[in-house]
Each structure stands twice: as structure tokens, then as C-alpha cells.
Amino acid sequence: MQAETRTTIDRISGTNGAAISVLRFSGDISSTSKDSVLGAWQTVTGDGPVLLDFSKVDYINSSGIALVIQLLMEADKTGRKIAAFGLTPHFQKVFTMVGIGKYAGLHKDEATAAASL
């Protein structure tokens, strides 16, 4: 309902048994989400792969997409693999339009995304 972004961080096991961190976003991703998006990234430990879960996100605007790009830049700098899942078909299209698909796989669900890493 409300416009806050909430982020929780999970650790799951990939198909090969290696740990994967999952950043689960919910609410809106907009200009006020900097702390929730980039702040959460700071708390991800290790150097393993990371999944971004958008399945509980209602609204993403271009400022929010810019935060996702900054997060991809951080991942790129530290050589971490990253993939996203749970985008609605509309936001999957929008992410593809701006080119994000080139730097992060965009998957339907968690299992497919985890298997891609």
C-alpha cells in the first residue's frame, strides 16, 4: 500500500551448493529508495553471486531504475555475478528497453534465476 521500500536479505544455496545472497525488495522503487537499495547492498557479505527479487515490487520509476543500475555497477566493480527475477512482464520490458538485460539476467522465478548463476 505505502510507498516505502523494504529490503530483506536471504541466503540460499545454488544448484552447486554455493551460497547465493538474495535481496528481496518490496513496495516502491523510486528516488526515495536509495537507502533501501544501495544500503542493503553494503550489508551483503562475501563475494558470491547475488539475486534481486522484484516479485513484491508494485511500482518502479526511472529514478528507481537508476538505483538498480548503480547496484549493478557495484556488483560489476567487485566481480560479483548478478541476476534478477519476479519482474512483471511490463517491467521486464522496461528493464530490457534501458539495456539492463545486458548486465543482469532477467528471469521469471527464483529457481531459474539461481540456476543461471
Binding site: A3, S30, S31, T32, Y59, N61, S62, S63, I65, A66, L67, I69, Q70, L72, M73, D76, T88, P89, H90, V94, M97, V98, G99, I100, K102, Y103
Partner: protein, 148 residues
């Protein structure tokens, strides 16, 4: 079915970020009345949101004394949306965002709003006022056309 042709709906929003969602809700309701399919309504919502964010941020510079006007006009085959602010508008289109340049820190990670608007609707036109007090972006989305 509701006859929407010739009808016009107007909304006035405060220049406060977040209120673009009210314009999205209004635009979605008009498009629904007109019979637009769900995926085109999503396109319209994002385009209207980005136009309102720009009007709030750049046009009215977050001055809460100014409001943003959204005028939705339905005709037989299309919906026209004008998003009006009190600024000077833009005189030239920004470059298309380049993800590689963004990822390498050579371009601001922002600057995607106008590109998204243009990509999501069937027509987009920015009209600026020489007196710098009434600029608008005009969007058109067509009923018969699927977005490719």
C-alpha cells in the same frame, strides 16, 4: 460500454514526488473505460508517471505552491494526455541513454524518463512556452495499435 469519445478529464496534482501515482490511477481508469488492453494501460501508466515526475521536479522545481495539470482527452481511437507545468520546458531532446556508458561511469545513471515516455507511447511531443510559464508534454496512445 461507456461512451468515452469527446470526453475530457482533468486532474491537478501538487508538485510533490509520489503524487505521480495519482495521475497514474486516473489515467488507468480513463484508459480502462476506453477499453485499452492491460499491457497498454501499463505502458500508459509508466509514461504518465515519468511525465509527471519531470513536471514536478524539473518544470515546477518541487515548488508546492505550483500544481501539475494532467488533461486526458478521449477520441474514437486514441487517448491524448497533456502534462502541464509552470516551467520553461526543454528545447532539445536528451541523448538516448547508453547502458554501457552508464555502467562505466561515463554517463549519469539517471536520465531515462523521456526515453521511456517515447518508447512506451505512440506519439510524444514536448512543447515549451517562450515565456517560460507553461510547458507541456503531449502523449498519444492508440487503441488499435499493439506496442511492439
Amino acid at each position: 460500454m461507456v461512451k468515452t469519445t469527446g470526453a475530457s478529464v482533468e486532474v491537478r496534482l501538487p508538485s510533490r514526488l509520489g503524487f505521480e501515482k495519482v495521475a497514474m490511477g486516473t489515467a488507468a481508469s480513463v484508459a480502462q473505460l476506453m477499453g485499452f488492453p492491460p499491457d497498454r494501460i501499463e505502458d500508459l501508466k509508466t509514461a504518465v508517471a515519468e511525465a509527471c515526475i519531470n513536471a514536478i521536479e524539473h518544470g515546477n522545481q518541487l515548488n508546492e505552491k505550483l500544481s501539475v495539470g494532467v488533461i486526458l482527452s478521449a477520441s474514437d481511437h486514441e487517448l491524448e494526455v497533456k502534462v502541464v507545468d509552470n516551467g520553461a520546458g526543454i528545447s532539445k531532446q536528451p541523448a538516448k541513454p547508453d547502458i554501457d556508458r552508464k555502467m562505466h561511469g561515463e554517463e549519469d545513471p539517471r536520465g531515462m524518463g523521456m526515453f521511456l515516455i517515447q518508447s512506451l507511447v505512440d506519439e510524444a511531443e514536448w512543447v515549451h512556452d517562450s515565456k517560460g510559464t507553461n510547458s507541456y508534454v503531449r502523449l498519444v496512445i492508440r487503441l488499435d495499435k499493439e506496442n511492439e
